[in-house]
Each structure stands twice: as C-alpha cells, then as structure tokens.
Subunit: 197 residues, 2 copies
DNA sequence: CCATGGTAAGCAAGCGCTTAGTCACACCGC
DNA sequence: GCGGTGTGACTAAGCGCTTGCTTACCATGG
C-alpha cells in the first residue's frame, strides 16, 4: 500500500506536468500553449518543466507516443477476445469509440497536434498509427474472405471506420447528449453496417 | 471580361492574403502562424495585413465564416436537386465528401482552428454549422418516416455521417491513394448503409 | 488633392529556454 | 549516532529573440 492515502494524494511532478500539458494542448493547441501555462498549472516554476523534459516539443512527443501505444494495445486486446471477424470488428469499434469519447481531451492532442512535432518524432508516431490501422484492416480482410463482410474496398472502409472513431474526439463533450457507452454501442452498429453485415 | 488576362494574373492583395493565411493556418495552426508569415508569403510588408483586416483573429474569422457559408450553400444545393430522401442523402454525402477532399486545406482551417476564435466569433460560426447539421438531419428524419431509412437514432447517425466527411479533411492527401471522386463515391455507399438501406 | 493601399521602423509584451544557486535527503566512513 | 558529501528536484532571475500591432509617412490614380 505504499504511496496510498485516504484522499487523493498530490500526484508527483512529472504526472502533474503531463496532465497540465494535455489539458492545455487540447484547449489552446501546442503553439497556443506556453511553457509557463503548463508549469504554473502543475504548481511549479517555469524552469521545472526542463527538469523533466528537454523541450516543449519533446513533452508533446512523449504524450503523443504514450497515447498512441495505449490505443494500439487497446485495439489489440479488443480483437484478442474473439475469433470471428464480426465480433472482433464490433468489439474493436466499441472499445475504440468509447475510449475516444472518455479520453477526448487526450485524443485531441494525439490526433490534431502532430503537425507541431519534428519530422523524426512525427514519423515515429505515424508508425504506431500504421500498426493500429493494420489491426482493423486485417480483421476486415479476413471477414471479407470469410464472406461475413462485403465491401468493394476493404482498405478505404477500414480507414473510414477508424476515421469515424477519431472524429468522436473532436465533437464529443462531457456535458453532451450521449454517454460514451451510448456512442460506442451505436457506432458498433454503424460500423458493422458499413461492412455490409 | 474585366480583370482577366491570358495567363493567371497576380490576384489582388486581399485574395493573396487570404490564400497565404489559409495555407499557413492549415500547415502550422493559428498560433503557429505569424502575421509576417502571411504577409510576406502574399508578397507584402507585415503592416499590409492591417490595411485589410483588423487583426489576425478577425482574418481567421472571415475565412472560417466564408468557408462555412460556402459549405452550407453546397449541401442545400445537393438536397435541392431531388425529392426523395435516398437520393438527397446520397448526393449530399457525395458532394460534401468530395469538397472536403478537394479543399482539404481550407477545410482543416475551418474545422480545427475554431478554438482560436473569440467567444462571439466562434458562436457565429457554430450557428452556421448547426444549419448544415439540420439540412442532413431533416433528410434523414424524412427518410425514416417514409420507411426508406432505418436507424435507432437518426440524430446520432446524421451527426456521424457528417463527422465521417469532416474527418476526410484530416487524412486526405493530394498525392494519396484515391481521387476525391473515388472517396466521394465510396462514402456515399457507406453513408447509405449506415442509414439501413 | 485627397482617398486608397501600401511601406519602414519600431514598441511593449511575451516567448522558449538557460544559468546559477537553494534545499531536502540518501548514503558514507567512523 | 554523526558530521560530511553528493545528488536530484526545484526556483529566481533573466537573456535574446519574436510576437501582434501601431505610427508616421509615401505613391498614385480619379
């Protein structure tokens, strides 16, 4: 039970910086956020950011990289729960969409702020993103071969399905009309219809 | 024929500023773009921007407002070409998606840079956007009533269809795998499937 | 002769990041 | 147990530069 206490303890400095950075980047964008914004929201002096990160850009990269790896693990675990493509695709969409609704703040950062990264950092992120794409695409292609899905272009259809999920991060609001579970369930239906089931 | 010449004439200053601003805002975001970026790309001194626009923020607003009104007219003309909901929805999606692929640079600005606007300007844009939403939603609802569409939540489904089209602006690239017409045609099919046809 | 559209120069504020130093604390030989 | 010492987290101060925008001025066509 080390590190635990009754009420929520103050998170350590790195975590506070990361949380402040995600919120600020999501609300005002990378270039609209100052290092002073981040550090003072985290309860520290401006220089403290540089104790933990080499630069503002590298802080964004670390957030985006960790976020993408988390999503990759999420979708891999979604398809690992079943053997048939219909359940796999449905579960993947449901998990992916729910996550983008619940974590819409973080998802905005990792999807809409990539242009601020250096060439090398951006391509490292895009490599992870390509892996995510492949997970769904292989499920769709196996479903088409098995005759449970029917689509004239499996590649574009799987891209569109993930695209649909990503855009949830743009429009979803916590105080909005639907819960994450409601959006996820409806999007599962929409995706399976797109796949011709 | 006033103002025309054989080869492309140098556009007037306002147009050059607008074009430079769209390209810069799309590539680096509002806060990542400097007024010097815009004005020197347009072939003018930094101060020239303020001859034509009151501020950088107002320049963004004018671009976003004009862009949204253009899309509103586009979707209204799409549904005006037919009487039956199936053709109306299909035409709307096809036109909307083609436009977001062709004009992906402008579409990125008007969809992803709204957070940089003032409260008043942003809400003025959101009002136009609401009108765009309503055009599709009414087509979908009429289709459901007529029995040609079947969806448990017409509201969320029409939102998802527009969302799908907007996200095209994020991932579409000119040198990519598909032409705007190919994406538009495939997305028409996907949208109609989402509507249960 | 003046409205229109442009420029050169620059101001005040804010930017990312660095430097030099403080402080709490783990670890050490004794 | 104890002073000495090294180490990592953090801050106060500020540097050099860039930012959005203004001011004062100039050219030119109607």
């Amino acid at each position: 039970m080390a590190g635990m206490s009754a009420s929520t303890p103050l998170p350590d400095a790195r975590t506070r910086l990361a949380r402040a950075a995600v919120d600020a980047f999501a609300a005002r964008g990378f270039h609209g956020t100052t290092t002073r914004d981040i550090s003072t929201t985290a309860g520290m002096s401006p220089a403290a950011l540089y104790v933990h990160h080499r630069s503002k850009e590298e802080l964004l990269f670390e957030l985006a990289h960790a976020g993408h790896l988390r999503v990759l693990e999420l979708v891999r675990s979604s398809v690992a729960r079943s053997g048939d493509p219909l359940t796999q695709a449905g579960d993947l969409v449901e998990d992916f969409v729910r996550d983008h609704a619940v974590s819409h703040t973080g998802a905005r950062v990792i999807n809409y702020e990539l242009a601020a990264l250096s060439e090398e950092h951006r391509s490292e992120i895009l490599a992870v993103r390509h892996e995510i794409d492949l997970v769904l695409r292989e499920v769709v292609e196996r479903g088409v071969e098995a005759g449970v899905f029917s689509t004239p272009d499996p590649h574009m259809t799987s891209l569109a399905i993930l695209s649909l999920g990503i855009d949830v991060a743009r429009w979803y609001r916590d105080e909005g009309r639907w819960t994450p579970d409601e959006v996820a369930a409806h999007y599962r239906l929409l995706a399976l219809r797109m796949l011709g089931t």
